[in-house]
Symmetry: C2
Subunit: 186 residues, 2 copies
Amino acid sequence: MDLSRTAYVILGMLKLGRRTGYEIKSLVDVSTRFFWAASYGQIYPELKRLEDAGLIRGRDEREGARRRRAYELTAAGEKALHGWLASDEPLAHEMRDEGMLKFFFADALEPDEQVALVRRLREQHQRVVERLRAIEPGARGAREAHGEEFPLLTLGWGIAYHEFLARWCEQMEERLAAVEASKKRS
Amino acid sequence: MDLSRTAYVILGMLKLGRRTGYEIKSLVDVSTRFFWAASYGQIYPELKRLEDAGLIRGRDEREGARRRRAYELTAAGEKALHGWLASDEPLAHEMRDEGMLKFFFADALEPDEQVALVRRLREQHQRVVERLRAIEPGARGAREAHGEEFPLLTLGWGIAYHEFLARWCEQMEERLAAVEASKKRS
DNA sequence: TATAGCATGTAATTAGTTACATGATTAA
DNA sequence: TTAATCATGTAACTAATTACATGCTATA
């Protein structure tokens, strides 16, 4: 059976102990979101499909009058998750980076506009670094509480990743500023 | 008027002197593909829309019996391209990285499977580096011929980017291998 | 008492890929 | 002569986002 990647996100989040669609979405938004996003429009229909396929089991839990449907992995779901994690199919890696797209075409810009573009790109990456650092204490706490190592390692990767890109921008800014200055002199 | 990013890819490629849908697709596949892909299914309909909107101008050129439609930017198209390049709207940055998604959930894997996952991720990034290095001479030649600096700078970015990710994987491999070894000892 | 958060869900839309159909030209 | 390349295009499909609708509960 072939599942969508988003199905595996759900399976994985249930393995980490999240139960409702809402909780899954909340956790996605502070974790996998940065390399695999998911919206309610995917999560709720997918939960239904996974239950029909017998990979998860849902139960209505009523807290007073508020309905909520809590899910857990079945043995089959656990197996499907592990099968995907361990499979050696090529790993999808796509990105859509508008900043680099503009940079590619930046010969059509004036020198000062080129510098401004790279500066904005750098600032964006720096803002992501800040957001990720803000998540860090919570992630560290979750590790202490449940013993999972990899979510925190992944967060470290995210911080290093955006710091690397910000640093690249910084160097490019200096380089372009030097070119701009030498052109003005001549 | 709001255009799709893919529309700007086309405008930008025409600015670089590409003329037919086929040529645009060929260039995309060795350049922006790594941070902004585009398929025939997008390119040909978009060429039609851009022509209807007056941003590009197409002319049928017959080489013998082979039909081909060559496009060039109009003044309005040039302006639209520059407007997008210089605008300070937030820059879209999305990615879908299955390797890191698996890594995030890798607590569910055995130590040897964890190492294998990161090794495969590293190998994939290294293969991309090789492919990009293979493109380099052509890109260097294009710069000499037409004077564009930024496509080559972007290629440098791509190489540095995948090298960084490969290096991160390498370090993680060592770390995980050390953990695995210490667990076996105990 | 009002706002933020918890909770579920769908309809409409947008973006993009894949696969296919067609046919000419060039180089091995 | 055959395979690769040049060239155009569309139909079907898949993935995913956005916006909306609904209603409960806890907190300031």
